[in-house]
């Protein structure tokens, strides 16, 4: 696995989550990459506030973009799609991704309340949800950045709340992080096959792959990045439309 390659897209997902935070949504975001051409094809941010549903999660927004481009009934395309998402997909999203037959899911921090790729349930490898499909799940990339964005969000929500909570979330902790327990998501063998033997120390010591948090990613304004991202996704659809024969849409 090319770690730097995955980190490049995780940085984009993280920037998008910061963009979401700056625009009054939950700082959870995702990027869908077409693996064979190595290009961004879609993105997603939570849309639960505007949509008035509890199911408009970032993943569903990105899936809708892909369906708009390749046809809503086309599931073939998902076999070539890798999802990069700042927070582990919830059980509903993990199930949706599996039913579509997605190739791979890479995420930042775990979802301790609703996680469907290992934290609560292991939908991505189960036998009751479209068992003909299963996807590779890569946890823990830019985990600290994802956690910090959520902390920014909760502190702000608490400040705005008419009845602020007196406990844990009242102060912003910029220093400490819970240990990265890889074993929730991966066996030792699974970790080795993804990251290589040289990084096993991180598994054993429950460490993040990067000790430093990239503050630029989560503190800078990302409005320009967002424009650029939209352009990238639009360009992809133009390219796909130019060569319909070489890329049949069934």
């Amino acid at each position: 696995m090319d770690l730097e390659h995955h980190l490049r897209y995780m940085r984009m997902a993280t920037k998008l989550a910061k963009y979401a935070l700056d625009h009054d949504e939950t700082p959870v975001a995702c990027i869908f990459v077409h693996t064979p051409t190595d290009q961004v094809v879609a993105y997603g941010m939570n849309d639960t506030n505007r949509s008035l549903t509890g199911i408009a999660h970032a993943e569903f927004m990105g899936i809708a973009q892909i369906q708009a481009k390749f046809g809503p009934l086309n599931t073939e395309i998902f076999r070539n799609i890798t999802l990069y998402v700042t927070v582990e997909p919830c059980i509903m999203c993990a199930s949706a991704l599996k039913q579509l037959g997605i190739q791979k899911v890479v995420f930042g921090c775990g979802n301790e309340r609703f996680g469907g790729n290992g934290s609560i349930l292991r939908i991505h490898q189960d036998s009751s949800t479209a068992p003909e499909n299963s996807h590779i799940s890569v946890p823990g990339l830019l985990r600290k950045e994802a956690i910090m964005l959520l902390r920014y969000f909760y502190v702000r929500e608490n400040e705005r709340s008419p009845k602020p909570r007196a406990k844990a979330n009242r102060k912003l902790d910029l220093e400490t992080f819970p240990p990265m327990d890889w074993s929730i998501y991966l066996s030792k063998d699974g970790f080795t096959s993804l990251f290589g033997e040289s990084l096993l120390e991180y598994y054993d010591k429950k460490l993040d792959l990067s000790e430093k948090l990239d503050w630029d990613l989560i503190d800078k304004n990302q409005d320009l990045f967002f424009q650029d991202l939209q352009n990238k996704c639009e360009q992809f659809s133009l390219q796909a439309a130019k060569k319909p024969k070489s890329q049949p849409v069934s």
Binding site: S51, L52, T53, G54, I55, F60, I63, Q67, P72, L73, T75, C90, I91, M92, A94, S95, A96, Q99, L100, R113, F114, G116, I120, L121, I123, D126, S127, S128, T129, A130, P131, A166, K167, A168
Partner: protein, 322 residues
Amino acid sequence: MVKKKQNPYHINYKEGIVENCLLQIRNTGCCDDPRVKNVWTVDIRARDSQQFIEFIRLNIQSNDPVSFQHIKRIKKGEESGVLTVIVCSKLLIEEQDDFLLLMKDAPFEYYNANDHSAVPTAAPSTKELSLKWSALYWPLVWRGNPNDQIMNDYVFDMAFIRNTLTTLSKVSLDQAEKNASDPPVVSAFVSPNGRRVIYSTDSRCSTSPLDHSIMQGIRSVAASEHERQAKNCDQAEETYLCLNFDVYTTHEPCSMCSMALIHSRIKRCIFLQPMRNTGALESQSGDKYCMHNNHALNSKYEVFRWLGSEYPVPEVNSDICC
């Protein structure tokens, strides 16, 4: 809360069946798991126990995610005249600093504040188990099987349920006849006051593979609320997500849909046909998720399966996620 004897419904508590036709669906696999959690305890003088109880009532009870109804908050301490008392769960207060801050306001003296005691957060289902856990962890109160009380508190409008299931069955049979591709899975979303019923059908082969009837129903409820807001009318009909809705569906929902119902904050789900391979609610279905009654997920809703054959539904391939 009515007394068992005065309950208007016929309830078979042992089997979990109401009126001989609604089977309560719950996680049978974890009933005897105490789910032990640590709590903050302090020692107080026996004569301060009234103040302690008042302090808990005012400052703690409504905020603590752990219910101590089946637990004796107060037990005898090691010395005479001293009581060891549970203040709150560690889920409510994690750090010692925060705990001591809370105790600053306590109108009584206390000693030996610590988080070493672990108590069962689940209530035991039998008296034997209650005695066992009392000896093992912390003294418990035995008030009967807690599920009996849950069963006893349910409220049903049997005529309404039968009506809705009649329509559900009819729409489902119609779908099977006129639409060869989409599976004939149908759901009904009933608003909390029961005045609005929104029916939704599965359209995975015509609109999107993820457009199961429950996902479609959730979006229809939102569309209806958008419409109401646009017209700015009828404040009494305002809805938030699907909060306190009852959802009726022909086939047991899959992992995606059963979780979507948690996100949507529904109150109850009643279904007709179990899906043994793909279902995510029954203890015997699929990977035994019992999504609505899974203790790792702190949200929940009531689930019942209709027993009996009054409301037939077309068969759906057993590998299909509904």
